[in-house]
Symmetry: C2
DNA sequence: CATAACTCGTACATTGATGTACGACTTCTA
DNA sequence: TAGAAGTCGTACATCAATGTACGAGTTATG
């Protein structure tokens, strides 16, 4: 499963094809971000390419969705890797959220598309890298004593993710402006992760 | 749209039919909670009823989904209405979450089913009642001074909802046990809504 | 008990998307 | 510039689900 579009595969592809693939993936990303159920036909059209060309590169729709997810998450992880995570963990987190926010916001629909076609486990794998970054930061914040320690990290990471997702959804539905969402998300996550101010005995 | 299965409609239906409808809705609820894409055929079978009978009562699949949502949300709201919301808002909230948690947990898939078939606006309407309850409680907590006031209530309500959704998802995927989820959810929401302990000037 | 309401099987029309087959035409690339 | 690689249209084969049509058999209910 998944033949040609692997970066690791020998580059026995014509420059031509390379370009087509890029256009297709990018178009797919656009389409699926708008409508999780966009058909291969829609996507091909949006890419300015025949449907057959598309199937020449991606044997199945799932293959395509997977490629798109990989692409989007690579972008995301790239954006995250550019964030300065040194210094005060609280502030670092703010910066991190600011960056992930935009990527996240435009990929909500994409995610649900993936959930419809890819096995849940695969999706998890793909998210591993970015999740890792968040997790590490939280861990550091804990060591610094500025983040709470009374809940498993896994849950905290997930909670942050779900909140981001929610904010993205609200934005998409135009019940919130993007700037407002950004503000609320950081404030919310901040108080979610903050060490409880109440050190009365519950040190466990 | 939506003919027969209205409680308000004159009861010109045979007891027989009434029973069938009940069985169908209940079966649909079970099926859709397991698989958001369950077909009308699956549902009819699960209800121990012919597919045609089903279509006799619900002209379209959407009609059925809608009925199921109404049913589930009525149940939910009923459960909530039984919760004692007097006294300390923090504690009341804990109780409220405890109750909504179980309903929520079993209806996650159902929600995504609805999102696939019903217009977003309709879903919102249906959720209005339970959302109202949460909102009122939050409002009271604010007046008491125990809940934060630096974010719009709408956002807080939504945030809580998304967190619940997330916890439900984690449970479904068996990455968390139900009891643990329950504990984490209350703790998380508690610190999300709590008034910031840091009243240094930012009174606005 | 008579009739209207309900059940439900089989069969079919429809729709919408996926994926395949074939073949002619174009464009890289060696 | 020859031939391999890629493009892409038309057409077709599936497939799965939705919803309709017809009609014979059941069962509530007045």
């Amino acid at each position: 499963m998944g033949d040609m579009p692997n970066a690791a595969t020998g580059p026995r592809r014509r420059a031509d094809a390379e370009r087509s693939i890029a256009r297709i993936v990018s178009a797919a990303r656009r389409c699926l971000s708008g409508d999780p159920n966009a058909s291969t036909d829609d996507i091909a059209k949006a890419a300015g390419v025949g449907r057959m060309t598309l199937y020449g590169h991606f044997h199945t729709r799932a293959d395509l969705v997977e490629a798109v997810m990989v692409d989007a998450l690579r972008d995301g992880d790239e954006a995250l890797s550019a964030v300065d995570l040194t210094g005060n963990a609280q502030d670092a987190l703010d910066r991190l959220l600011d960056s992930s926010w935009s990527v996240m916001a435009e990929s909500t629909a994409l995610l649900t598309a993936a959930q419809g076609t890819l096995p849940a486990e695969r999706i998890r794998q793909l998210h591993a890298a970015p999740a890792q970054r968040v997790e590490q930061l939280i861990r550091r914040g804990r060591d610094e004593g500025s983040f709470r320690t009374d809940m498993p990290i896994t849950w905290l990471v997930n909670a942050v993710q779900y909140l981001l997702h929610g904010a993205a959804e609200e934005t998409r539905a135009e019940r919130m402006r993007t700037e407002e969402a950004s503000r609320l998300i950081t404030a919310t996550v901040r108080s979610l992760l903050a060490a409880p101010p109440d050190p009365d005995g519950t040190v466990r």
